[in-house]
């Protein structure tokens, strides 16, 4: 009996590894892992200053040792440990910012698209303006006005960041507004509030997930740029952007100070972008035009 089943059973779809999915997920999983477990996997404290050990090159370069795998910076702090800890800032800031911007953008988009009329024009003009202003300048302004801190960075990135969500979700809502099931809900007397929450919102979740994933890379790059410029989370908290900045003036003597944190940013952003593309192709290929 058993010898026949293998032939008669319908052949299972071969499990293929989709590298465009697996690799980014692995990189992002590593990011989450090192952010959570930084204190356990980092060989040194990220803020421990040790001047005798300063400017040590990475292990594969001449004069480097395995004691500091990626070398040390101008204060003798271990770069590998700082890269692990830096993942915390990147991850927490970007998750929080995406959560806030996606939330605000979705509410604005659904309200504008569903209610239409003057509310729509007002909200959409605001969206247009927010899309046009370079966020980096507002971020610099906030850094001066409120002083650089975690809160300032999140606020600076969210204050304009909701606009792309609002525009996309409004477009989706406009299409849904004309759909039969929404018309029926109106006929049986559902309030606009109920229609927006119960009938429209669940139908915009797919595009929402797609652009939220696709924005991971942008948000991480933005945070890194702010910390590079000194408008991010203030030292001594290690963040990748400010680590790159630490190495700027030592580039002729110690390239590794800037190199490794920048590489970490690039890898994570690239993974975020690839994962975003993959999810878009699976969930909503129409959005490829974005």
């Amino acid at each position: 009996m058993t010898e026949n089943t293998s032939e008669k059973a319908p052949r299972r779809k071969p499990v293929t590894l989709e590298w465009s999915f697996v690799i980014p997920v692995v990189v992002l999983a590593l990011l989450v892992f090192s952010a959570i477990f930084a204190p356990f996997i980092a060989p040194y404290s990220p803020t421990k200053i040790s001047l005798p050990q300063r400017l040590l090159p990475p292990f594969f370069a001449e004069g480097g040792s395995t004691a500091h795998l990626l070398g040390t910076d101008s204060l003798g702090r271990d770069i590998l440990s700082r890269v692990f800890y830096g993942a915390r800032i990147s991850l927490s800031v970007s998750l929080l910012v995406i959560f806030i911007t996606a939330g605000v953008g979705t509410i604005v988009g659904i309200v504008a698209g569903y209610l239409g009329g003057r509310i729509d024009s007002l909200l959409m003009r605001t969206t247009d303006v927010s899309l046009a202003i370079p966020g980096i300048l507002i971020a610099l302004l906030l850094a001066v006005a409120l002083g650089p801190s975690f809160k300032t960075v999140v606020l600076a990135m969210s204050i304009l960041g909701w606009a792309p969500y609002a525009r996309l979700i409004r477009g989706e809502t406009l299409k849904l507004r004309e759909a039969d099931f929404v018309a029926q809900a109106r006929i049986i007397g559902c309030s606009p509030m109920r229609i927006m929450i119960v009938h429209v919102f669940p139908n915009v979740i797919n595009p929402l997930i797609v652009i939220a994933t696709m924005s991971v890379g942008l948000v991480i790059l933005f945070e890194a740029a702010l910390s590079y410029l000194g408008a991010g989370i203030p030292p001594p908290t290690p963040s990748w952007g400010s680590m790159v900045s630490d190495g700027r003036n030592l580039i002729d003597r110690a390239w590794w100070i800037s190199f490794f944190p920048g590489l970490a940013i690039g890898l994570v952003v690239m993974s975020g972008n690839f994962l975003g593309d993959w999810i878009r192709d699976k969930l909503d290929p129409r959005l490829r035009r974005l």
Binding site: R125, T126, D128, V129, L131, A132, I133, P134, G135, I136, L137, I138, L140, L141, L142, A143, V144, A145, L146, G217, L221, A224, A225, Y228, L229, G230, A231, G241, V244, S245, G247, R248, I251, D252, W255, S258, F259, G262, L263, I265, G266, L267, V269, M270, N273
Partner: protein
């Protein structure tokens, strides 16, 4: 067309008011605005002057009116550090920023045109793949990092180009190249996809049937039409350019408006940061307005859609 321009102009003015309100609110949200306007060297008299200037004893709407009036007189305040009018400092640095911005724009536009068209006509060839690879890198690598690595390779290692400063043409090479590296992918992808759409159309088939040489079909008939779509994103490109200026100018110590605002931010010289933000925001809105008008002029359908 007249109505279209009027409507867009009105929208731009409303947007400008919106931005000035945002800045106004931010300044007051931080608590005592005089704290932002004074430095360690300010005297009691200075502070009293600032208070009078901002009209802090008056009501909020009146304060806003004072703020707008001074902007109307092109008065962006005075730098706390240099004790000079902000508008003067911007005036000095703006030509440098324009030099960097325009050269990067021209370099990346020319490259994007050539590479985008070639990638579209040789679809899935090695050039197309190369272009895609470059786009992936350009979208993922942080600009400041690429700039520093470029300094490491070309200035420290090979000693070919100066790492910073703005004295000669050689100083321009590295900043322009890094900036173009980031402007290029987006432009290139747009031109490529727009070119692919156009190459599919009937009139291109007709041009080919007429027996026109392929060179003329692609570079004249197709490219002209393929350029309309990327035009809509020119406004967004301008915003990218400004972000790039801020970062690249800082890395290469290029004496432009971007570096001015970053240095002012580091020194907590609030009036300078505020002035630059307002000016640049106005510039961005103006460019967007011009792009929209240009686009409506090129493509009449737009005039009616946006009414």
């Amino acid at each position: 067309m007249g109505r279209f321009i009027a409507v867009r102009l009105l929208q731009t003015i409303v947007a400008l008011i919106g931005i000035s309100l945002l800045v106004f609110v931010l300044v007051r949200a931080s608590g005592d605005p005089t704290l932002l306007m004074r430095s360690s060297v300010s005297t009691e008299e200075d502070i009293a002057n600032i208070k009078k200037q901002l009209g802090l004893d008056k009501s909020q709407p009146e304060q806003y009116w004072i703020f707008i009036k001074s902007l109307g007189h092109a008065d962006l305040g005075t730098s706390l550090l240099k004790r000079r009018p902000v508008i003067e400092m911007v005036g000095e640095t703006l030509p440098n920023s324009l030099k960097l911005g325009l050269s990067s724009f021209v370099v990346s536009m020319v490259l994007a045109l050539v590479l985008g068209v070639l990638a579209a006509t040789r679809r899935d060839g090695w050039l197309d793949s190369g272009v895609k690879f470059l786009a992936v890198l350009g979208q993922a690598m942080p600009g400041f990092w690429v700039a520093i690595m470029a300094i490491f390779i070309f200035s420290v290692h090979w000693r070919l180009l100066p790492p910073s400063g703005a004295d000669s043409i050689a100083n321009l090479v590295l900043p322009v190249c890094t900036m173009s590296f980031f402007l290029l992918p987006g432009m290139m992808r747009l031109i490529r996809s727009s070119m692919l759409d156009v190459l599919d159309s009937e009139y291109i088939k007709l041009a080919r049937i007429k027996g026109l040489p392929e060179r003329v079909v692609i570079w004249k008939h197709a490219l002209r039409n393929a350029l309309i779509t990327p035009l809509t994103t020119a406004g967004m490109l301008f915003a990218t350019l400004i972000t790039g200026e801020v970062i690249i100018e800082t890395v290469f110590s290029w004496p432009g408006v971007g570096r001015l605002s970053v240095e002012a931010m580091m020194a907590r010289d609030f009036p300078v940061v505020q002035g630059v933000t307002l000016l640049v925001a106005a510039l961005v809105l103006l460019v967007n307005l011009l792009v929209d008008i240009l686009y409506a002029y090129v493509d009449p359908q737009i005039r009616y859609q946006q009414m």
